[in-house]
Structures are given as C-alpha cells and as structure tokens.
C-alpha cells in the first residue's frame, strides 16, 4: 500500500509541482494568519509591544458574558442582514424575473445598470449616500419637501430610530445587483418546456412561479442567502464612511468593534478573540442555512 502510494507520487510529481505555488500562497496568507489569530486570542497584547501575556479563555469569557456593546453590534448587523435577506434579495428576484420573463427589449442595458452599484467601492457608496441623507443639503430631504412630505425631513443618519435602517438601505442598494445577476443566471437554467407543460395543464403565472420557478431556484437562493449573510454581517466600510458606529452605538457592528478594540484601544488579543467568536457565529449561521435548504431540497 505504502509502495503504491510512493509510486503514485513518483509518477505524478509534476502535478504536485503545479499545485505548490497556490498551496504555498494559501498556507502563508490563509492558514498561517488564521492560526496566528487563534493563538493571539488567548493573549493580552497591545499589538506593538514585544511581550504578550497569556490569559487563557479570559478574552472569550469577557466577550461572551460581559460585553453588552459587542452583542449590540451583533444585533445591529443581524438587523441589517435580515433587511438585506428580505428586501434586497426580494427586489433582486423580482427584477430578475421581470427581466427574464417580462421585458424583452434592452435587457443588456438593464443588466449593466443593475450591476453597476456592486462595482463601486464601498467607501464611494458610503459618501454618495452620506450626501443623499445629509440633514442640511441632502437630496432625500429636498425630494420630501418637493412632494409635500416636509414633516418627514430629518438628519437620517444621526437619529436613533433611522440611522441603522438608512445604512441598511445604502447597503441593499449596493448589494442587490449581485443577487440579481445570480438569480438571473439561475432562471436561465430552468428548462422552458417545464413552463410550456404547465401552461398546457392550465397553470397560471402564480402557480408557475410557485411550483416551477421557486423550487428550482432553491440552490441559487441558498448561495445568494449565504453570501448575503456573510457579506452583510461583515459590513464595515459603509459604516466607517457614514456613521463611524454612531450616534451612540446605534450603527455599531462587529467588525467596527473588532477594529476599534485592536487598533484604537490597543487590545489586539481581545480584538482577535472577537474575530474568532464572530467567525464561529458566521460558520454556525452558514451551516444552519445550508442544512435547511438541503432538507427542503430532499423534500
């Protein structure tokens, strides 16, 4: 058995050679930083000093049981994720269906238009929306005044009850184009004859959507949902450009907490522990979601 393995490797060494660069890059830039982060999470370290102090699980215990701001930030990111999962992906699906089955002219133009926001830098998107929401000269307030809704004018980003939703809207605007493209690709894989057969059997548009489009889109929807959750829970650039986590802690999210702990407060070890806890949360969420859709597919 061992001899066979050695012979196999001797015959195929050149294949391994070509994998080596990618593997080295992964080990150096992927695996090593992860292991190092994991190691640092058990230390008290300021990120500058040559010495570190081993504290065992203290960082983890403090984050999980004694840090309400951390859990507020997780809750805020979850709210933005729920908004993105429902409104952003709902809109993306609706537009994809409209474009695939309804609109026949200028499809390419629509595709380009919808896919433009995801190509913009998040900082740029942040500044665009900062101007839109500005309480003094923002276009949103201007429009509200023009259409007679002047009593709804406000500083959108600096009020407790509108700041997080406003950031979520900007995030969805930027993200829906990506979901749209994935849904469109998914729709194109559904065989046309299924719809024709359904029509012959007397199925209307709603029933076609319910019994053909939706079930066959489950694999794509799963991917879109997982990517949406992962992308939204890790929201950072938009927050830094728009609110820096304020007012108060209303738009604080996990990555801004990790950033502030590690770089502003010199709690590097604590920040890495936060990153590990957060990574674990995301992993659990992703596995749960994948399992749910797998069960649904089996049914």
């Amino acid at each position: 058995m061992k001899k066979e393995k050695i012979r196999y490797i001797r015959h195929n060494w050149n294949s391994y050679l070509f994998v080596l660069p990618a593997l080295s890059i992964y080990l150096i830039f992927g695996l090593y930083p992860f292991l190092r982060t994991f190691q640092l999470s058990f230390y008290r370290w300021d990120g500058i000093a040559p010495d570190m102090q081993f504290v065992g699980l203290k960082n983890y215990i403090d984050i999980i049981f004694n840090n309400p701001i951390w859990w507020t930030s997780v809750l805020n990111a979850s709210i933005v994720s729920i908004i993105a999962l429902t409104f952003q992906n709902g809109l993306a699906l609706l537009l994809a269906i409209l474009l695939y089955r309804g609109i026949t002219n200028g499809r390419t133009i629509y595709r380009v238009i919808f896919f433009m926001p995801p190509m913009l830098s998040l900082i740029v998107v942040g500044y665009i929306w900062l101007w839109i929401y500005d309480g003094n000269y923002g276009i949103l307030n201007h429009i509200l005044r023009i259409i007679g809704l002047g009593n709804h004018v406000r500083a959108w980003l600096s009020e407790a009850n509108s700041s997080l939703i406003s950031v979520a809207v900007a995030h969805c605007w930027r993200g829906f184009g990506f979901a749209f493209i994935l849904f469109l690709a998914g729709l194109q894989t559904i065989p046309e004859d299924l719809y024709e057969a359904a029509k012959v059997d007397g199925a209307g548009t709603w029933n076609q959507f319910r019994y053909i489009t939706l079930p066959l889109l489950v694999p794509v929807a799963t991917i879109v949902s997982v990517l949406t959750i992962l992308g939204t829970m890790q929201i950072f650039d938009l927050i830094m450009a728009m609110t820096q986590g304020g007012p108060g802690f209303h738009t604080e999210v996990p990555i801004t907490r990790i950033y502030k702990e590690a770089f502003s407060y010199y709690h590097f070890g604590y920040g890495t522990a936060m990153a590990i806890v957060f990574g674990g949360l995301l992993l659990i969420l992703s596995i749960f979601q994948m399992e749910c859709s797998r069960r649904r597919l089996r049914r």
């Binding site: 660069p21 003094n136 500083a155 600096s158 007012p247 108060g248």
Partner: protein
C-alpha cells in the same frame, strides 16, 4: 527515474516560477541608492494639507546639505495613519522620522517597544530652548508616569494648537449680532444661537462624529466646573463621575440641544464635513482647532471669519480653559540607522528661519516660540489662547470609559439619554475595569 519529458516540465516550471518566487528578495532601489551615494531620510505623516509645502523644504535641505528627505503622506486620516504605524512597527519597517501626536498612551506604547529614540540629550544641549515649554512637555514623560516610560523627551514639537470657536462675520451681521463683540458668556452664546436660528441659520457645527472634538468641548467645561484636582481625581478613580459638577459640564450639550444650536446631523458629523459646512456658510459658528485656518483658506479663501474663546459659564467655579498643546510632532525611529541625520534635519527644520517660512505657507502656529511675529489676526488669537490651555495632567482616562463618555455625548445630542444616565454608565464601566 525522471522521464525526459518531465525534465522539460521541471525546466519550464523553474523558468516561470523562479523569478516570481525570488522577486521579493530584491532591495528597495531608493534605499540602495541612498546607502551608496547620499543619505535618504524617510518621513511619514498624515498632514494632507501640507505635503507640497514639506516637499519644498525637502528640496531646500537637499540643496544645502546633499541629504535627501522623502516626505511620505502615508494616510488620508490620523486614525488610519495609526493603523499603518502599528503594522509597520510589527514588521520593523517604520521610517526614519515618524509624524506623531504628542506624548500620552499612543507614543508610550511605541517608546516601550523600543521604536522611538529618547531625544533628551539633544534637547538639553539647547535645542529645547527654541520651543514653547508646554509643547516640549507634551512630548516628554516625567518620572512615575502611568505608562512606565523612562523619563525624557521623545517627540519634537512642530506646531502648537488649541481649540476655539470660529464664527462667520457675515452670518453674525445677518442675525443682528455684532461681529466685533462675539458672545463672551454662556448666556450670550445661547442668546446668539437663538437669534441665528430665528434667521434660519444653523448656529453651531463641530465634528462630533469624530468623537475627539466632543470630548475636547466637554473637557473645557469639566475643567471649568471641577477644576484640575477634581478632574484628576475622577480619572485616577478617586472621585465619581456621578456628581453635580460633571452633570453641569454635560448639561452644556443639553442646553445647546434644547436651544436648537446644533446643525442637523452633528452627532455623527466628521470634522471634515463640519469644516465644509462652516466654509460654505451653512453654520455660523464652528468649534475647531488652529489648523483649521489653513483648511478654511483652502476651502474658501473669501470666507470672512474671526475666532472667539469658549464662552464662560458664570456659575462655574473656574475659568473655562482651552483644549490644546502640541499640534503635530516628529519622533525619530529608535531602530533607524540614520538617527543622527534625522535629528540634524529636525534641528534644521525647527529653527526660526524655516519656521517663519512654514507658518507663512501653512497658516499654522509654530512650536518655535520665537515665531510669533507676523501672524494673521486669527492666528494671533490662537497664539494668545496658548496661555489658557488645559494643563497636561500626565494622566489619561481609560479608552473604554472615554468611548462611553463620547458616545454618551452623541446620545445626549439626539435626545436619547440624560447627562446623569451617561455619567452612571461611565462610572459603572470604570468600576468594572478597576
């Protein structure tokens, strides 16, 4: 046995991968040239408004001495610059001269890790005599400091600054206020705000989203209501935040909120946005530092403004002082091979002749105390303000508590929390940390 065709694969592989794998082993071309021909001093900073001015000085220095100084604008903001320094410290790639803020916890961590040179000997040789004593003090650590730094001077002050209130003369006139007599007391300040608001003008702007400015505003009034001993006692944990004096200081934000003094969105406004608002005439008063003279000049050279001190609350036991001290400093990399050349350049750059030129071009306040003539009227007021700045206590509140206080100010501004609630939260956290 290696088959002939596989040998060729190996040759092709090495031919392609060899250069890629070894490309990182090359030396920095600039450094190589610098090491062989003439010294090259690298100077990192984050001062976006004066890179071209600094480059002019670098050219001048090269002409005079043959030593090249490379100013590198390393980051668009101070916060990001800090991150870059942290990463560079870990990888031992800090430059020869590092633009820094004066002393405190930030610099102490780099000093303790051996990244910053102790400049005490050079300073004692007469170098320190050219600077404002307060500016030198901010870059120094005394015996028994809370960070355990070996006493000495570690940062060379380049500019000094303090925080005051800029006001737009034209908007004051529009609201029927006398631009020659700005509000001096808190009551006059609030009354002026009401008049401005009645004319549809936002009375006050500040970058309270950047948090530091909100804290500086608070500190001026905390000092006024509590005095030095009580502020120190609170920071070292011997006195509670939950006290009428701290509440009175926080209530300044409440009074301003209730009198509609704040520009819309001030709670999350960055200082850059606030500067734009003031420069474009959207707000009549702006809390900002002396550096803003140059910023406003670049944003709107025609802006007609003056500057006033923080208005005094007549019920406060002490005069209101200004946050200020060292503006920007330079530190010498403790591990640099060009330490002496770096110090020589800094001595050259901070001498009177160069600083007069620097002040003229950068519209700033020099840390060189011999450069006070010829300042613009506004800068002269800031220079005078240096006599009334909050003294350096060499004690700092914990970052976590400061965050709760700063975020608490935002919550007060948006009407979500009361002063006492913020103070209770801060005290609870302080008790927990201690």
């Amino acid at each position: 046995m290696v088959y002939p065709c596989k040998k060729w694969i190996l040759v092709i592989y090495l031919f392609i991968m060899g250069p890629i794998l070894f490309v990182g082993c090359g030396q920095d071309k600039d450094k190589e040239i610098g090491a062989k021909k003439k010294p090259l001093i690298t100077f990192w900073h984050w001062w976006t408004d004066r890179q071209s001015i600094l480059e002019e000085f670098a050219d001048q220095y090269e002409e005079e001495t043959g030593v090249k100084v490379k100013f590198v604008l390393s980051s668009p903001s101070g916060d990001l610059y800090k991150n870059k320094l942290q990463a560079a410290a870990l990888s031992s790639t800090l430059p020869d001269i590092i633009g820094v803020w004066g002393g405190g916890e930030f610099l102490a961590r780099y000093i303790n890790a051996g990244h910053i040179s102790n400049l005490t000997d050079e300073m004692e040789e007469g170098w320190k005599d050219r600077f404002f004593p307060e500016a030198i003090k901010r870059g120094s650590y005394q015996d028994g400091n809370q960070w355990g730094v070996i006493p000495g001077t570690y940062a060379v002050p380049l500019t000094v600054m303090n925080i005051q209130i800029f006001y737009n003369k034209r908007l004051f006139e529009k609201a029927g206020l006398d631009p020659m007599n700005p509000p001096a007391t808190w009551e006059e300040f609030i009354a002026a705000g009401r008049k401005l608001r009645a004319k549809g003008i936002a009375p006050f702007t500040a970058g309270f989203g950047d948090l530091g400015l909100a804290e500086w505003f608070l500190n001026s009034y905390a000092w006024s209501f509590l005095g030095e001993d009580n502020v120190r006692a609170t920071w070292v944990g011997e006195r509670s935040y939950v006290s009428p004096e701290w509440e009175a200081a926080f209530d300044k934000f409440v009074e301003m909120r209730d009198n509609e003094m704040f520009i819309e969105g001030i709670a999350i406004m960055s200082n850059k946005q606030s500067e734009q608002a003031f420069a474009n005439g959207l707000a009549a008063m702006a809390m900002n530092g002396s550096w803003a003279v140059n910023v406003y000049y670049q944003m709107n050279p025609d802006l007609e403004y003056d500057v006033m001190s923080f208005p005094q609350d007549t019920e406060a036991a002490n005069p209101v002082l200004l946050f200020g001290g060292t503006g920007i400093c330079a530190a010498v990399n403790g591990k640099s091979s060009q330490k002496l050349e770096a110090i020589k350049f800094l001595k050259w750059f901070t001498d009177k002749e160069r600083q007069i030129e620097y002040v003229e071009k950068a519209h700033t306040l020099s840390a060189n105390r011999n450069v006070i003539d010829g300042l613009s009227p506004v800068l002269a007021k800031f220079a005078k303000g240096m006599e009334r700045i909050i003294p350096d206590l060499e004690v700092e509140e914990k970052n976590e508590v400061r965050e709760v206080l700063r975020k608490g100010i935002q919550s007060i501004i948006i009407g979500e929390k009361t002063s006492i609630k913020v103070l209770e939260e801060a005290q609870r956290l302080k008790d927990k940390l201690e």
